[in-house]
Chain length 267, copies 2
């Protein structure tokens, strides 16, 4: 794909820029081929939620930030798409909540591990876990390469943030007694259902909001406890589902379309 | 992405095989990078419709087959994803309805044109239009490379089938007085709204069904006229939208998820 200049006033500039960023990182070996297809699935669900951070997403972000701030050993798990799209925000968040950052991949190769590590270090990370020999521990009950984790990181974490995750691993981590924060645009996915805190939002919008929220809440940890007491993930997820359903109905009634003219290209 | 062996009994074997096929053709230069992302969007909408050919889709297929059989100069427009996924079925359909096959690309390059032509010829096509100098005519009002068409093909066609199309071109072709058949998994897209016949289905399922339907209807052209008289694209589209909405509600009520464990990998 030839790189296309995106005029800043373009109505879908943000989404197109995100896509360009992902494709660029694909060519650098950070993103897997299957990661491009996964991004497309995310785009479709993002249209469905209206390409904005919804109220239930904001609630989940507040709960997630609270859980991360109160955690003893928080870890942020990073895959190719996350590194490509929000490396800087991820490192910023890790710094605020004093979390470790760990590379965890479904399509693991030494080259990809290193490319992602490099990207994270460029964004300011130190001690990126889960690369090479460090990914020596195993999550029980997981068959894929996703099971390999760092004994200093995910293995011993009490709260793990897993943006753009697979359901298998989310479930396995929860079974290990960890609290899992997922960022997933599909509120009906197994990841969304199994996570302790499900943020139904685009990682590009949710991560900077997590940074801001964590920064503010850090001043008031009592409030964090209250937020966690008040938060009900199932109820919150149901609200996300209801929002999508309503939007779908509204769009279909007014004969509108999800995809603007610049978006719905055939290829 | 390393090629993964897909066991035939796998519940989502069909979707995974389709994806592998697309990725293989991506590496051969047939599919554009943006085509992989577009495929992901399609996957999401396919989950929403339940990964099966719905009743409204079957109605649209019957109408489309009728329009193609009654056409004087039918043309099937082929892009990278279509060639990758249904080259043989497309050629088979073209033979039954005596249509021309024309390459039309958003990301046009001589290499891609030739790679797609080669794929179509391997599938049995002769005289593939829209390659090189042949794409010398222009569709008015279109800015992209999509405007370049063959003066023997799309330019003079009365019925154009455009699987996996963009809304711009669908609209432009309709404005030129052509009947346009679209295959699009998103019933609210501009393509879906603007086409004369909208098949809301996966191209992988819809194309072989078009072949069978056209083969049967060819024996009874009077029936084709009746089918066209009875068909209402707007009404039919509304039925597709209603089906998705109902399925979404059902899934959310039973707490089910769209993506099976093998599907929702993070990358």
């Amino acid at each position: 794909m030839t790189s296309i200049k995106i005029p800043p006033e373009h109505p879908r500039a943000e989404s197109l820029r995100t896509r360009e960023k992902l494709i660029e990182c694909y060519h650098k070996g950070v993103v897997a081929t299957a990661g491009l297809i996964a991004h497309g699935r995310g785009e479709a669900f993002d249209y469905l939620i209206g390409e904005e951070t919804t109220k239930p997403a904001l609630n989940a972000i507040r709960a997630a930030a609270s859980a991360l701030l109160l955690a003893e050993r928080p870890v942020i798990s990073v895959n190719g798409n996350t590194a490509a799209l929000v490396a800087e925000e991820t490192v910023r968040l890790a710094r605020i909540i004093k979390a470790k950052v760990e590379v965890n991949l479904f399509y693991r190769s030494r080259e990809r591990e290193l490319a992602i590590k490099e990207l994270l270090e460029k964004a300011g990370a130190h001690d990126v876990l889960g690369v090479g020999e460090d990914a020596s521990a195993k999550i029980p009950e997981l068959g894929s390469e996703r099971r390999r984790v760092s004994p200093q990181g995910i293995l011993v974490a009490d709260v793990v943030m897993v943006p753009l995750e697979d359901g298998d691993r989310t479930e396995a981590l929860v079974k290990m007694g960890k609290r899992v924060i997922a960022i997933d645009l599909n509120p009906l996915s197994r990841t969304a259902r199994k996570a302790t805190f499900t943020i139904v939002d685009n990682v590009v919008r949710a991560t900077p909001k997590l940074v801001d929220t964590a920064r503010k809440l850090k001043q008031d940890l009592t409030k964090c406890h209250q937020i966690l007491l008040d938060f009900d993930n199932k109820k919150n997820l149901a609200e996300s589902v209801a929002l999508i359903k309503d939007r779908f109905l509204r769009l279909s009634e007014r004969g509108g379309c999800f995809f603007s003219e610049d978006e719905e290209r055939g290829f």
